[in-house]
């Protein structure tokens, strides 16, 4: 397995308890995130995996309260940042936290930057807002950040507009912008999904380098298990708005306990097994259940090869079956479920 760096993992920075974020739609209440628990400690990289629509992005956006509020609502739960619940926090205080304590990098670099301001202006804006720097100092800081993320032609690039950069470059700018105020937690929401495969590796490397330099905690959201294996210390697996498994990277890949996780890991295409094994790509049959009217029991039951009658009765709770390894599956909790 890859880097097993203990980067002074310490106190709990972020603790999400029972988060429920729902969306009002024409056809009913969309329960995008339905009872999610998550903790991230200082300096830790936590990978959040799951397929599209499982609620990973909504969870991340909920942390920073960037969820669109007319259709969306945080209906329950707590988001504790260093002990303080963010949900009832007034806007002004929340703004002090955004980018200063918790920063985020989005999925779509092509549309995440304002087209009418230069790249330099946009980074300087963050720095001036949180650090109170003057124009000269902010510009210097901006150039420094751009240098760190390896943007070429610094002196010219600072005054260039986003459309003059490629997708990969824009994502670097986003990362520079996010890290410019030295936040304690960086949320990276599928930072490479929209990029070319070759660029993906570069960006992931960049994130690792930034982590070494700044030592911030990282919440890496992705649907690629391979990425998580490379970069994370702990993994949280989400499915249909809930967390189904949580473990350290070693534990998860050594012994995935939830049938969904097992399916995910098995479906990673393996180059090393090549022609010799002559196996078809593994898939998980079926489709994600509706989040408008979720089933009463385990949400994975319809697609689970091991489903039993018990699975349809009630949603299995997320329980720690081994030190550091939690799972929400009846199979793994023979005594716990009624």
């Amino acid at each position: 397995m890859a880097r097993d760096v203990k980067l002074g993992v310490g106190e709990t920075l972020l603790e999400i308890r029972g988060l429920k974020t729902h969306f009002e739609t024409d056809d009913g209440m969309l329960q995008a995130v339905d009872g999610v628990d998550l903790t991230i400690a200082r300096g830790e990289t936590v990978g959040v995996v799951g397929e599209s629509g499982c609620g990973k992005t909504v969870t991340a956006m909920s942390v920073l309260k960037l969820v669109p509020m007319p259709p969306g609502r945080i209906v329950a739960g707590q988001i504790l940042w260093q002990g303080r619940d963010l949900i009832p926090l007034p806007a002004q205080d929340m703004n002090g936290i955004r980018s200063k304590e918790i920063a985020i990098v989005f999925q779509e670099p092509m549309t995440s930057l304002n087209p009418v301001y230069t790249v330099g202006e946009q980074i300087a804006e963050v720095v001036r807002r949180h650090e109170g720097l003057g124009r000269r100092a902010a510009l210097d800081k901006t150039v420094e950040m751009l240098r760190l993320v390896q943007i070429p032609n610094l002196q010219r690039s600072v005054h260039d507009y986003p459309h003059q950069f490629s997708g990969g470059m824009r994502q670097r700018v986003m990362i520079a912008m996010a890290l410019s105020c030295d936040p304690k937690l960086l949320i990276a929401d599928e930072p490479t999904t929209a990029l070319d495969v070759t660029i993906q590796a570069q960006i992931l490397e960049l994130l690792q380098a930034m982590k070494s330099r700044f030592g911030m905690a990282v919440m890496l959201i992705t649907h690629a298990m391979g990425v998580v294996a490379e970069t994370a210390q702990r993994v949280v697996v989400m499915y249909a708005g809930k967390v189904v498994e949580e473990a350290s990277v070693q534990q998860l890949f050594a012994r995935p306990r939830h049938p969904y996780t097992r399916g995910l890991i098995r479906s990673i295409p393996r180059i090393d097994r090549g022609a010799a094994s002559k196996r078809r790509l593994e898939t998980i049959g079926g489709v994600v259940p509706s989040l408008l009217h979720p089933p009463a029991g385990c949400r994975f039951a319809a697609r689970c090869p091991f489903a039993m009658a018990k699975c349809l009765e009630a949603t299995p709770p997320l329980l720690e079956v081994v030190q550091g390894h939690k799972v929400a599956c009846v199979l793994e909790q023979p005594e716990a479920v009624p």
């Binding site: 739609t25 056809d27 599209s52 992005t57 969820v67 509020m69 007319p70 969306g72 509706s290 408008l292």
Partner: protein, 313 residues
Amino acid sequence: MDVSTPASLSLEAGARDLRRARPVSPAFEAWRRFRRHRLALASAAILLLMILAIVLGPTLWPVAINDIDFTARLKGPSWAHPFGTDDLGQDLLARMLYGGRISLAVGLAAMAVAIVVGTLIGAIAGMSRGWLGSALMWLTDLFLSLPQLPLLLLVMYLFRDFLKALFGPEGGVFVLIVAVIGGLRWMPVARLVRAQFLSLREKEFVEAARALGASKTRQVVRHILPNALGPVIVAGTIDVAAAIIAESTLSFLGLGFPPDIPTWGRILYDAKDYLDIAPHWALFPGAAIFLAVLTINFIGDGLRDALDPRKVM
């Protein structure tokens, strides 16, 4: 708590995909959306009433429009003359009912011209792949730059007598007004239709039709045009309102229909010098134009929500 945070596109898309569960006919969906627009519904009702009044009015209110009666000059509204009289003692209600027919006819005819011309040009531009498309679009842009009212006035000035000789006084002016108003309003329709064509002609279902051997015309008529219908209907509605305003403006400036035809604009033209002593004379036709245009605009807005829900305008 936070002030409301508007939606971001990426999240909306996800929510939308999950919503398309039930298959419902598009016409019913459109009606359902239109129904939610209370102002549009109210406007539709009011407009219907106005149209009924104009169409049935003269039979229900059989007063002559040019019954001169100097004893009843410039009288305000009364039982005998619900809208009052003008300076020749003519009944305003009767005149307005008559004029309404003309205004409505002009509006509908001009819209028809604009839609037909616009759809034709837009379709040809949209289907063509070479210089023809660009040339037509350049022509469209050119026409969009033309100063409308001055040009309208110029054409009226130059061609009025000629057409009067050809079609008679009212017919001539009618043809002229409809042709020019329609001829200056086809451009937005052409653009809309062309945009629809450009985006639809590469879509799979059109390719499928092409693969099955459908001729170009058939592709256009059966597959592409129905999809372009929505925005065109909305544009057409707005065109009726614009045409009514254009015709009224011309009449108000004294350059529209002949003086004995009491279109609403013409009545205002006569009334404007008597504002101090007989304000009702100007208020009724002005209010009628306003009401007609307002209701049509609201209906157009409702139709836009119903047929083209993505655009916020």
